[in-house]
């Protein structure tokens, strides 16, 4: 069963990659990379159970869940404001 899950996740990753390559807008690519990171988290968790070392693997999965979120937010920030808001601590308000 775990093998089946891994294969399905690989297929789903491939489909998300197709969407990331095809675009057409930049938001499609961000969406694809976001679900891609969710799928990577799931795959690392499942791989941990396949190899029987899930304790260490789950730490990585956890880290990916957090880092993926940070990256998505950073990418969105650049796409909306043009940069990461360096030297502009109140960038959320003054560019509306």
């Amino acid at each position: 069963m775990l093998t089946l899950v891994t294969i399905a996740l690989l297929a789903a990753m491939g489909m998300a990659l197709i969407r990331a390559i095809k675009g057409p807008t930049v938001y499609d690519r961000i969406l694809a990379s976001n679900t891609f990171s969710t799928k990577t988290v799931l795959m690392i968790s499942v791989l941990g159970f396949l190899t029987g070392e899930s304790e260490v693997y789950l730490d990585i999965a956890l880290m990916y869940a957090l880092v993926g979120f940070i990256v998505t937010v950073a990418v969105l920030k650049v796409s909306e404001f043009g940069d990461l808001g360096q030297s502009r601590p109140d960038s959320g308000e003054n560019r509306q």
Binding site: A8, I18, D28, L31, K39, S45, A65, V73
Partner: protein, 106 residues
């Protein structure tokens, strides 16, 4: 009892796989970024939750269970937030969501 748990875990994993695949197909089929977000939402919420719950049933009462629980909690908290941020940015950037074939501009 453990037989029943195994059955339940296989069932959950199966539904997780089903929803992840359907969500990915939706990601390819849907006409614009907002509708694609709905499809990706299936993968990111129910699919991920079902797979992690299934793995939790396999894990038993160990530290792995706690870690899986934390992963699930983070996914459930962060995914809607990221999705909302993306939707908001896309509304500002695109302006006109796809409203069906008749009103489509291009």
């Amino acid at each position: 009892m453990s037989q029943a748990l195994d059955m339940l875990s296989v069932l959950l994993l199966f539904f997780g796989v089903l929803f992840i695949l359907v969500g990915s197909i939706g990601l390819l089929r849907m006409p614009d970024v907002f509708t694609r977000m709905h499809a990706a939402g299936i993968t990111d919420t129910i699919g991920a939750a079902a797979i992690i719950l299934g793995l939790m049933l396999v894990a038993g009462w160990t530290i792995v269970l706690i870690k899986l629980l934390i992963v699930l909690l983070f996914l459930m908290l962060l995914n809607p937030t990221a999705c909302h941020a993306l939707a908001r940015a896309a509304v500002h950037g695109i302006r006109s969501p796809w409203q069906g074939e008749s009103e489509q501009q291009q």
